[in-house]
Symmetry: C2
Subunit: 340 residues, 2 copies
């Protein structure tokens, strides 16, 4: 079976995991609008495709799926997910297992204001969040919100345009600045629908940040999760982490997976405050996250599980077991880009 990874970007390690599991019994095909990335360098075959918001994008993907006899398809990029979710049936009609969640799940993950509403509604802890400068300002005046606060894109990714404001002047400046930057960046693909409300202001939560990978099957049924304590970040991605048991963190994030009925891996960021025992979900992404390798290093194997599910096979129970206390780091390995 061949696997298609869309928006493969820098996720060369996921490409390698799929290659290892396929062990020659299938190829990993990668597509990206920019061919010069480490993910595109690692795949068995690569296609440079039109930008996600181009009308030719979906037709081109359908063509590639046909030509390459794709059996399993995943996306690794938030901006890619909404359009794939809307066109999922076209790929499924070709017999492809599409690891993309329902449109409402993708939207609840991508739109941090919807995320907030969903978490509140279901009683899962989340930081106080405000849409618009005025509502944040009046919450500050009423004493409901205190500095420092986080200013960030409502439809955001990684560390792009995220600022910490320590006083009113910084809040007002960064609010306008974030709006300007969103309009000028590719984030505007998602923010287009409501550019006037494209920035949120959030309470800065104290505590230890965890990353959790929650795996559901292709019908959205919960399978397993891996909890990791984040030790260091780089460019908004986890750079060093260690697998660790934290029952509250596990319970909240697994509840989220049951609730969302997402497909495949859900990447959840959550902060645990030891002094209060509280956990607050910061955000979640309906795709493999940058922290997944730390679960894989510890023995979990969501890649193998997805391949089994796509082939209608039983998932080996070993895919779900992992060792606590495994510390991992993302090493940098310079590699020549050949055959371009």
């Amino acid at each position: 079976m061949n696997v298609l990874l869309t928006s493969v970007g820098r996720r060369c390690y996921l490409v390698e995991y799929f290659k290892q599991e396929l062990a020659g019994k299938g190829h990993v095909i990668g597509v990206n609008s920019d061919p010069l990335t480490s993910g595109m360098a690692a795949v068995d075959r690569r296609y440079t495709v039109p930008p996600i918001d181009d009308d030719a994008y979906i037709p081109r993907l359908l063509e590639i799926c046909q030509e390459e006899s794709i059996g399993l398809m995943l996306s690794l990029f938030d901006i890619d997910l909404p359009i794939l979710a809307r066109h999922r049936d076209q790929f499924e009609a070709m017999g492809i297992s599409v690891v993309v969640s329902d449109p409402w799940v993708v939207e609840a993950a991508n739109d941090k204001w919807l995320t907030y509403g969903l978490l509140l509604e279901h009683g899962l802890g989340t930081p106080l969040t405000f849409l618009g400068l005025e509502s944040a300002r009046s919450a500050l005046k009423r004493g409901e919100l205190d500095f420092p606060v986080i200013v960030k894109p409502r439809w955001g990714m990684g560390s792009i345009s995220i600022y910490t404001a320590e006083d009113m002047e910084e809040l007002e400046f960064f609010y306008r600045y974030a709006l300007k930057n969103i309009a000028a960046s590719y984030l505007n693909i998602l923010a287009r629908s409501d550019m006037d409300h494209a920035v949120i202001v959030q309470e800065k939560v104290q505590g230890q940040e965890y990353g959790v990978d929650v795996l559901n099957d292709l019908d959205g049924n919960f399978l397993t999760s891996v909890v990791k304590k984040k030790i260091a970040m780089r460019s908004g991605e986890t750079d060093i982490a260690v697998t660790e048991d934290n029952e509250l963190v596990r319970h909240i994030t697994e509840s989220l997976g049951v609730l969302l009925k997402h497909r495949g891996s859900l990447d959840v960021d959550i902060i645990f405050d030891e002094s209060t025992g509280d956990s607050k979900v910061i955000e979640f992404n309906a795709r493999f996250g940058g922290g997944y390798p730390f679960s894989h290093l510890a023995g979990a194997n969501f890649v193998s599980a997805l391949l089994s599910l796509a082939q209608g096979q039983l998932v080996d129970i070993k895919c779900f077991s992992y060792i606590r206390g495994v510390q991992g780091v993302k090493a940098i390995v310079p590699t020549t880009l050949t055959d371009y």
Copy 2:
């Protein structure tokens, strides 16, 4: 011969290059104040050492050099260089080849205001630079400087606290904001001497950015250089680059190496504007830069050259030759941190 890499940080690829060249005939020893880094994970033996600005730092390094029979020593971190430059004779007295430049060279590289003065004095192209908000503001009023401008730490590193200001409000805000952030970050180790003048404002230069590695021998005599066109950046480091001949860029950066008489590798950032034929040096660092792997991938081998020099051997001429047009990318390879 054993090699000591101080402030080894995330430079796991340099550790691997040294291990390859030593081929078992010596060990790579790494020291860092934080043991949890990919560089520390890659070395043959690691030591967690006191912070650079701690009185115990140099005595501890001297001890480690003694215990490990170090023959060659390099630092990979700008903040580390001034103190090593001042204490170089103590290490040399132990028979160690220290690839650290004279204090004035390190200072001219670390202090971007000195960098500007040096480049101006020697007629090497460089962006218009202003120390202090007032001088930038009056240059803007006189029409000598135009928006956008770059606001950055006078003693800076990577992309930390670098902002583009598109108007006066952004300039004034980011100037104050950068000052505040420098005071709160480890950059204050270098900025301590003149915190009131710790931010510079620089013309934003148009054109293609190049990175050049200029190699001098251990007495500061020029040996060779490798010119690379930068294709993509991440966290202020070159992420994708291609070796390319650009005679003007080569000429200017080699002149700089002859002038500075630095030791080992000098990392130069320079922007070439095809429309005017002008080149402007943005900054240089008196150590291996994050772009060195792209020179190494193309066949140059400064690591082997330094090992030969430290052992009083002739440098193999092959270390200087490289193939033009070699494109490289930094792949991310998740790795378990074991034996910690």
